[in-house]
Symmetry: C2
Subunit: 465 residues, 2 copies
């Protein structure tokens, strides 16, 4: 889909100032611009007017200063893996690509923290850390940049045990809309020194400034890791096993639920032979004794809730195969319907309501005639329906949007949120109002105070005015 605008949001004088400062780091080539607006999921292409490959915080500060003077919007770009159109240049402007700011600046092994430039990806960081017995736990699936993960408040498969970005970011360097550079937080594990600006920028989707450096918490690679797959006769049984295990205090590291259709997609895509039933993908971290105890405890719980064969393995190749299949589940889902695109939902509900929310959603999808596998981070109550639609078929588009809307309404009625981890972006602004109605005016007040001209990633989270 194309949503090209007819005129540039960057004035000739601003473009000239940017070119003078950045030379070949700046591009206005249609291919480069288009490449920065090609996003996952169901969103129109909205390319920026120019793209800057930033190499330093000073580059970003100068670019923001020039754009502020010229009234040009600024959109921060990391890996482009957002599912909510965060990098779309809704009002045109300058996209600041931080992917070349990919230096690991500092690792403190005793303190288990690191400072990285915003363009470092999570896989790059973990490769860097491996020899030091440390890892960064937040895993949204995609190999996102740390700056992008901060800005969407990302989480993922390990959040049940290690928390998401909010729990693992200690401090930030941010370029404010004025071009001023601030640092928030620090290296310490905890602080009550004034307002928690680190938390404010985490999940702000680039609407309050551009994150250029991130101080993160690290964790020790566990002595032992085991992975397991367990199919259940009912979806409710799988969810109940998870609830019971958490209450019982089993310190699960990963608990992922895939519905029967997702398992069919995984088998077809990854050439695996899993049972095509509601299935949990699990991981256990701890000492050798601890992991064995956790796995055996969970096996007992699973059996009581209709779980089938429970095989667990500590072998690296078994674990890699399992998690590769899980991480490719999104692409496996897309492959169920070649030529179609996806609307990916992201609701999160209290876990006691999760089974009913998913079962009702499955029935709704089936009644709509769409293909829509469901998978999720079941320990957190967060799941995704991947609704496949033909972008050329207005009727199917309308049906897909209607199902997605009902999923949100269902989640909100159950005490949930419209977005557990993907953010609001361009597509969930109305849902945010429905969910956080009394709080949105305060969010808008903060936005107005920090970015009075509304040039930072406009059109995301809420509409101006």
């Amino acid at each position: 889909m194309s949503g090209a605008r007819s005129s540039s949001a960057i004035s000739p004088a601003t473009l000239q100032a940017l070119t003078a400062r950045f030379g070949s780091q700046l591009s206005t080539s249609p291919a480069v611009r288009r490449n920065h607006a090609s996003v996952e999921g169901f969103h129109a292409d909205l390319p920026p007017d120019a793209v800057l490959m930033a190499r330093s915080t000073a580059d970003v500060a100068d670019a923001v200063t020039i754009c502020a003077a010229g009234g040009a919007p600024v959109i921060a770009y990391g890996a482009g893996s957002s599912l909510e159109g965060h990098v779309l240049a809704v009002q045109g402007g300058l996209t600041v690509d931080l992917s070349e700011m990919n230096a690991v600046l500092e690792v403190n092994t005793q303190d288990m923290d690191a400072r990285v430039q915003a363009g470092v990806t999570r896989k790059q960081l973990n490769a860097h850390l491996r020899d030091q017995g440390l890892f960064f736990p937040v895993d949204p699936g995609a190999d996102a940049t740390l700056g992008g993960m901060v800005s969407t408040g990302a989480s993922g498969t390990t959040t049940i045990r290690y928390g998401g970005m909010r729990a693992n970011v200690l401090g930030l360097t941010v370029v404010l809309p004025s071009g001023e550079v601030i640092t928030t937080g620090g290296r310490v594990r905890k602080s009550s020194a004034g307002y928690d600006l680190t938390a404010l920028f985490t999940g702000a989707e680039g609407t309050l400034g551009v994150v250029t450096e991130v101080q993160v918490r690290l964790h020790g690679i566990p002595e032992e890791t085991a992975a397991a797959v367990c199919a259940f006769s009912t979806l409710k049984g799988a969810v109940d096993a998870v609830i019971y295990a958490v209450q019982y205090g089993v310190p699960m590291a990963r608990m992922e639920l895939l519905d029967a259709l997702s398992m069919r997609a995984v088998n077809a895509y990854s050439r695996t032979a899993y049972a095509e039933e509601p299935t949990l993908f699990l991981e256990f971290h701890g000492s050798a004794t601890g992991v064995k105890e956790q796995a055996e405890t969970f096996a007992g719980i699973a059996k009581e809730h209709g779980g089938g064969a429970f095989d667990w393995s500590t072998a690296q190749e078994d674990r890699d195969r399992l998690w590769e299949a899980r991480h490719k589940a999104y692409f496996a889902a897309l492959a169920l319907a070649p030529g179609k695109v996806s609307i990916t939902t992201d609701v999160c509900v209290p876990v006691s309501r999760l089974a009913e929310c998913i079962v009702e959603t499955q029935a709704d999808i089936e009644a709509s005639g769409l293909v829509g596998p469901i998978l999720g981070h079941v320990g957190d109550g967060n799941f995704h329906a991947i609704l496949m639609i033909d972008p050329q078929d207005p009727g199917e588009i309308a049906r897909g949007k209607a199902v997605a809307g009902r999923i949100v309404e269902r989640a909100l009625a159950l005490g949930g949120t419209c977005t557990g981890e993907h953010g609001v972006g361009v597509g969930k602004k109305a849902y945010l109002l429905a969910e956080q109605g009394t709080a949105v005016p305060l969010m808008a007040l903060i936005k107005q105070a920090i970015d009075p001209t509304g040039l930072m990633n406009p059109g995301k989270i809420f509409d101006a005015g």
Copy 2:
């Protein structure tokens, strides 16, 4: 000490409006007012002009609305256990006491969450939860209210394992400076629905609004709990044992360090007979097997670092005795110097620098001639020096303040913070500027946007203008 002002900050018309609305819930009695300005630690008494015993969010909203119309400051009050003078009426005004808003509104056992009024204390909540196998983990020592713990961003002895308030608050009800009531967050475990206002109000010290309800995460009471005490020949040995245990992945639930002088104070106050050496108080949570493994692993690590006898016990009475001694350590310290008052410091440094920071601080205190035991949450790098001073001796006051200032400077030079968990309050405003210099103007901008007339707990965190 007294800092009484000569005139009231509440106009006669405002007082009349408050009296008409609240009747006997409102008091202007000198004893009640003084009682709400009698704070822990070294701060002048600054009583409010009136005190409201609030019974509902509507009460708070109406009080804030009336005060906003009349230009009167509003100070929220919970248990009064703040150590940084948060409840002092620096500019007079109305203190809103929330201690009678002490209903546990909802407990969801499957979801392990609860909603409470802001005046519920942590001990009250845990007594309420005990039969359900759940507990609320944040333990700052004092039996603070949940609303107060939100507002100072409290943490404490269990933060190393369960996180502090930031990790355990899911949502809030807040009365804004306009009198408007908003809800933030929700019941879900995670969300990326807009700016994280819950995090913004956590640690805002009542300067952005009054928290009236708190949604908290709960945790399962572990199958087994063991406590242990271990003395070390050197303070560095104790700290190194902790660093090694964390890196090794021992999931410690509590790790408290008391220096030799603190142990002497504890023995004298609690009639215990611990070795008067640098000592770790420890707690292990898990399965029976897991706790045994953790305790044995830690015993081995302690031995390698100069640890002495390592006795651990799962008996409730042994654990209670141990933690009661630890929790009374502040009062034990005060009892070292009867008639004196304390300046309690609260720095936090990267744990790799903790031993040098404490050892240099001990030497500094000794050189100053003051009595100042040191204890802390060693796993987080956070420690407190309790500097005893004679409030009638200007020279001792000056020496105490100078030592406290040097402790902060030392911590900042080591990459630390001036306050790990007590907040900024009235006493650390200059230190906040030294530590978070580039970020403070943005904090002030947010304060100005949300509370333009500066009536919410004035004189805390930063000075107006």
